[in-house]
């Protein structure tokens, strides 16, 4: 496969208009709309938009992105702005790497060991459920394979990683992505409400959405929507560990689904797509996680000063600045993410894949909620 598109550096100037719109949107939200919402009295409650609707810059940013695409621009981001919006995932990944400054190695080990059990269990359960439902709904095997990993791990990346291994067509991947994003948008907006209504603390909420929400970007958005603060022990710091544990399992899940797919093929077709686990680990491992680990190590070594843990010294100036910059970078990334939610595409992804996606997505979401409620007293704070 030859990639003929110009390199990143050459495309960067063309990203300026879209990036300018994203930056301007977030500046207006944070400097004008948020302060206005905090002061506005509605139905006798000061700051009704914040206290009752739990609106913050994160949700507003995504809503603006959504509105740009589906309302202002009639379903398609204009070409002149497209490349700017294509930087959103870069920003989100950068923010996640910087998030490593929230943790020490001890905190990672504590949270990670909780996450591994929950995530491991849910990934396996989801893959098995999708493979079984795929057979029940008589879905194409390639479609089922892609959906299995998309629904069990992290949506878009997992779907794209699995596609070549199970001979998936572009339409299969597109359906999977549309289903994930569609369901994810719903969970993104309702999760903070449910979390607050159930009296979840940041740890419980982060563990729930880190397990139950399908797409990485939406986990991040839902965490920040619940608590927009970026600090150790906040929802985003918990949810991202869960997210990273899920993302790391991509090569293993691709391998497992590949084995399932080829085991069911009647003829000995082209085996060149059937790759070993070692090859998949090298090819599919999300390298940005190494950046996150490096930040954790640097933080643990005290390179950035004190992190401001509970009952400890206050956070250093470097750490405080890192956290402020992170909130902006996430904000930019999530405005861009909103611009990728296309209601028409989601509506067109109907039929059996959507039914399967909704059943599995809803099961995972509710089951993760029940597990967190049952084990809330055992979830250890960092």
């Amino acid at each position: 496969m030859t990639d003929n598109s110009p390199g990143f550096i050459r495309q960067l100037p063309s990203a300026v208009p879209g990036l300018a719109l994203i930056v301007a949107t977030l500046v207006v939200i944070r400097f004008w709309i948020e302060p206005w919402m905090a002061q506005t009295v509605l139905f006798g409650i000061k700051g009704w938009f914040v206290q009752v609707l739990h609106l913050n810059y994160i949700l507003l940013g995504i809503i603006c992105g959504l509105l740009y695409r589906n309302v202002l621009f009639g379903g398609k981001i204009p070409d002149v702005l497209t490349n700017g919006f294509r930087l959103s995932r870069l920003m989100i990944k950068t923010g996640i790497i910087m998030l490593g400054s929230l943790y020490t190695i001890q905190a990672i080990v504590k949270l990670g060991s909780m996450a591994i059990f929950l995530i491991g269990g849910f990934v396996i359960m989801t893959v098995v459920m999708v493979l079984w439902l795929g057979q029940l709904f008589k879905l194409d095997r390639s479609m089922t394979g892609v959906m299995a990993n998309a629904l069990s791990i992290c949506g878009v990346s997992a779907a794209v990683a699995t596609a070549p291994a199970v001979e998936a067509k572009a339409s299969h991947v597109a359906y999977a992505i549309a289903t994930i994003l569609g369901f994810g948008v719903l969970t993104l907006f309702i999760s903070p409400f449910i979390g607050h209504a159930l009296g979840f603390n940041d740890l419980q909420y982060g563990a729930w959405i880190g397990t139950g929400i399908l797409n990485s970007g939406q986990v991040l958005a839902a965490a920040l929507a619940f608590n927009p603060n970026v600090a150790p022990g906040t929802a985003v710091s918990v949810a991202e560990i869960w997210n990273i544990m899920r993302v790391i399992s991509i090569p293993f899940a691709v391998f497992a689904v590949t084995v399932w797919y080829w085991a069911g093929k009647l003829e000995e077709a082209d085996k060149s797509q059937h790759k070993g686990l070692g090859t998949l680990l090298v090819e599919k491992f999300p390298v940005f996680v190494l950046g996150f680990v490096a930040m954790v190590i640097l933080t643990s070594l005290g390179v950035f000063g004190d992190v401001g843990l509970k009952d400890g010294p206050p956070a250093s100036a470097v750490i405080k600045m890192l956290r402020v910059w992170m909130t902006w970078i996430f904000g930019f990334g999530l405005v861009g993410l909103g611009g990728y939610i296309d209601f028409k595409e989601i509506a067109q992804a109907g039929g059996a894949p959507l039914k399967l996606g909704l059943i599995v997505g809803a099961t995972k979401y509710v089951l993760a909620l029940l597990v967190v409620i049952l084990f809330r007293d055992y979830l250890v704070a960092i």
């Binding site: 790497i97 070549p164 990728y340």
Partner: protein, 48 residues
């Protein structure tokens, strides 16, 4: 045919709704690491 479909699957999706300026996820990951290094360097300079 399946080979072509498979080979083109990711590329076709990438072209149709390409969500990155990079050629693939791996390149984007490296880009994110580089951007982080630059930002952290700036922060270390400004905050000290």
């Amino acid at each position: 045919m399946a080979q072509t479909d498979t080979t083109n699957a990711s590329a076709a999706v990438d072209d149709k709704g390409k969500m990155t300026l990079f050629k693939d996820d791996r390149a984007e990951d490296i880009g994110a690491i580089i951007l982080t290094v630059v930002l952290v360097a700036i922060i270390l300079f400004l905050a000290r």
